[in-house]
């Protein structure tokens, strides 16, 4: 990151003047933390006692035989407390907030995972907490909303714009400019104004640091390829970062293909021609926008990938061809999910299932002497309503209808 927060042509901090000073302080504190080895140690202690880091690297023996190609290893971020990699970022920012002495945190959330993680961190650190969530996501991820509220957070339903992640982000910024003095905005992914992209990636980099050590221990050498789903880009950056200098390791980001690259109903920013450079939500990256610069509606079965922008760091790595980007459609994702559940007894989040789908397409062509790593960013439990829905599971429908009748009495 250069002094203005750019990665190559991407990033920056396009923020209202009201926030300028806060960002100065945030950048300052962030720099201090990075210089302070104790901070990272505190972070590791927190993550190993409150969450269960290091998360395992699981050898997926059945899937490996199923495809007959490279050995498939799965990095198990789903085993984090709150069920996704989001905890890594949130707990790190929590430590930062304590150092800055702020008493309130706010956050946007798409899948609800980041909201869950933030509400959790707020409860643990005794901070007030408000979560902004697009109306459509509130519906898609109701259980997470319930838990956030039970942990003491206020969940605000955002009814503006497309009523998804990007609108939640705008609303969170509006809160922040209003309450900037006592409030920290816990940005949930490697996007937004500097220093968020780099800071979030730093906290998430624990994934790749562990994975590198684990794969060498189990497999004896570096993997051929690493797959991660890409919404904002935090789990991808988290596992990629450590491997950027390992030039023999191909890094593959899988975006949300929704109903298909040509359908217009997707969230493919880097692996389709639909996106163009733009500036919104405080940073410059490839956005899905029209010729006037108005953001388009995106679509994905996975709420957490349903976003118009992408990490400026990934746009830079994309431009420099250091990361390859692919996409997987909603249907491919459900199939990959199904196969993974039946073969391994593992339930990836719909977001994560994109990485699985991307890997399944290619792993068969690789040599059995090689290995790949799939980053399972989260667990699928949270998605039961979406998944049961996608399967149109009849007994599930019957069950819901029965419950509703009780409640309607």
């Amino acid at each position: 990151m250069d002094r203005n927060g750019f990665f190559g042509n991407w990033g920056g901090a396009y923020i209202p003047e009201v926030l300028y000073q806060t960002f100065q302080e945030l950048k300052e504190e962030y720099r201090r933390c990075r210089k302070d080895p104790e901070f990272w140690q505190d972070y590791l202690n927190l993550m190993s006692t409150y969450s269960c880091r290091p998360t395992p690297l699981t050898y997926a023996e059945n899937l490996t035989h199923h495809f007959g190609g490279a050995k498939i290893y799965i990095k198990r971020e789903d085993l984090n407390h709150t069920g996704a990699h989001k905890a890594n970022n949130v707990m790190g920012q929590g430590l930062l907030v304590k150092r800055m002495g702020k008493k309130r945190v706010i956050a946007e959330t798409g899948a609800g995972q980041h909201g869950m993680a933030t509400a959790t961190m707020a409860a643990k650190f005794g901070l007030d907490c408000t979560i902004y969530m697009g109306e459509e996501d509130v519906i898609r991820q109701r259980p997470n909303v319930f838990w956030m509220e039970k942990m003491g957070a206020t969940v605000v339903t955002v009814k503006d714009g497309s009523r998804t992640l990007k609108d939640a982000i705008n609303e969170a910024f509006r809160d922040w400019v209003t309450n900037v003095d006592n409030t920290h905005y816990v940005f949930g992914t490697a996007c937004g104004p500097a220093p968020f992209p780099e800071m979030v990636s730093w906290f998430q980099s624990i994934i790749g640091i562990e994975a590198a050590e684990q794969i060498v221990r189990y497999h004896g050498k570096m993997p051929e390829k690493i797959y991660a789903c890409v919404g904002g880009g935090s789990n991808a950056m988290g596992i990629f970062k450590r491997f950027l200098d390992e030039t023999d390791v191909e890094l593959v980001g899988v975006e949300a293909g929704g109903q298909g690259a040509d359908s217009g109903a997707h969230a493919i920013r880097l692996s389709s021609p639909d996106a163009t450079p733009g500036v919104a939500q405080g940073y410059k990256t490839m956005f899905l926008q029209n010729d006037d610069g108005q953001m388009k509606n995106t679509h994905s079965v996975a709420a957490g990938l349903d976003y118009v922008g992408v990490s400026p760091i990934l746009s830079d790595l994309w431009e420099k061809k250091q990361v390859r980007f692919e996409s997987a459609t909603d249907d491919e994702v459900i199939q990959a999910l199904d196969l993974t559940m039946k073969q391994e007894g593992i339930i990836p989040a719909l977001e994560s299932a994109h990485a699985f789908a991307g890997a399944f397409r290619e792993v068969g062509q690789l040599s059995p002497d090689d290995a790949i790593i799939i980053n399972q960013s989260g667990r699928g439990d949270k998605d039961i309503f979406t998944i049961a829905h996608a399967y149109a599971d009849p007994s599930w429908k019957k069950f819901i209808i029965g419950r509703a009748q009780e409640y309607s009495k």
Binding site: Y14, V18, R174, V177, V279, G293
Partner: protein
């Protein structure tokens, strides 16, 4: 003549100037026309015309909704420029474009400056473009003699204000308080201290915006600021009582 000079001339005759705000295409360009006419006829000194954006991060509910409805009605950037040309030709006050950076960025910084200059726009207000991010754009604005208005906030340090002053053109837009557009502001001691800091930091005229709603508010600003900015207030008025209500309201402010 540059924007700053125009304002200084007006300030010869008035103890405080008035800038108003409209969202282009909301509720329609037709209504925009009527509203602007009423504003000019009732002595408004400067008008900022907001080109709608899908992500108006710094705007409150009223202007946010106006942005969305305008876009939903199909407003394009070209329409806004054409409309600006028409207004400039009809009314003899300075007009500014207010928008978010992506609109200009996507259009092309130079292309946009050139267009704006051609149709007689005097400057820009871009809440999400701090000078650090706008180096190239600042240069282009100067080249086309367009004023890029910079913003002060209560959270800006003296040092920061000085820095901004160095890049600012036309006037400084002093945000009256933390938060987004639309809510009422308190013009108390803190506020005065803030304005004093602003004044100390720059020689440019000072405009004060955010939450100015009444004659009292404007009275309170006299002697402290050079221009008062009326934003959401008139939009709400038009929504409730129609364009015709704008004239009397503006008149009532002085």
């Amino acid at each position: 003549m540059l924007l700053e000079q125009q304002l200084r001339n007006k300030l010869q005759k008035k103890d405080i100037l008035l800038m108003t705000h409209i969202v282009l295409g909301y509720p329609s360009f037709d209504v925009n026309r009527q509203v602007i006419r009423q504003m000019v006829e009732n002595g408004v000194d400067c008008i900022e015309m907001q080109i709608p954006f899908s992500e108006p991060m710094a705007d409150g509910p009223v202007i946010l909704k106006a942005n969305q409805d305008s876009l939903a009605a199909g407003t394009r950037v070209e329409d806004c420029i054409a409309f600006a040309a028409e207004m400039v030709s009809q009314h003899d006050i300075p007009f500014l474009f207010m928008s978010y950076y992506n609109i200009l960025f996507k259009y092309g910084e130079e292309a946009f400056c050139k267009q704006a200059a051609d149709v007689g726009i005097q400057g820009f207000i871009i809440p999400d473009l701090p000078p650090e991010m706008g180096t190239s754009f600042l240069a282009l604005a100067d080249k086309y003699e367009l004023a890029l208005i910079l913003i002060y906030a209560p959270t800006s340090t003296d040092e920061r204000m000085k820095e901004l002053a160095g890049h600012g053109r036309g006037f400084i837009y002093c945000v009256a308080r933390r938060g987004v557009t639309g809510k009422k502001s308190e013009f108390d001691q803190n506020f005065d201290n803030y304005l004093n800091r602003c004044r100390a930091a720059t020689n440019l005229p000072l405009a004060v915006g955010f939450g100015i709603q009444s004659k009292e508010d404007i009275e309170a600003l006299k002697g402290k600021a050079d221009m008062a900015v009326i934003g959401s207030r008139t939009i709400k008025l038009v929504e409730k009582e129609g364009a015709a209500a704008v004239g009397p309201f503006i008149a009532s402010l002085r």
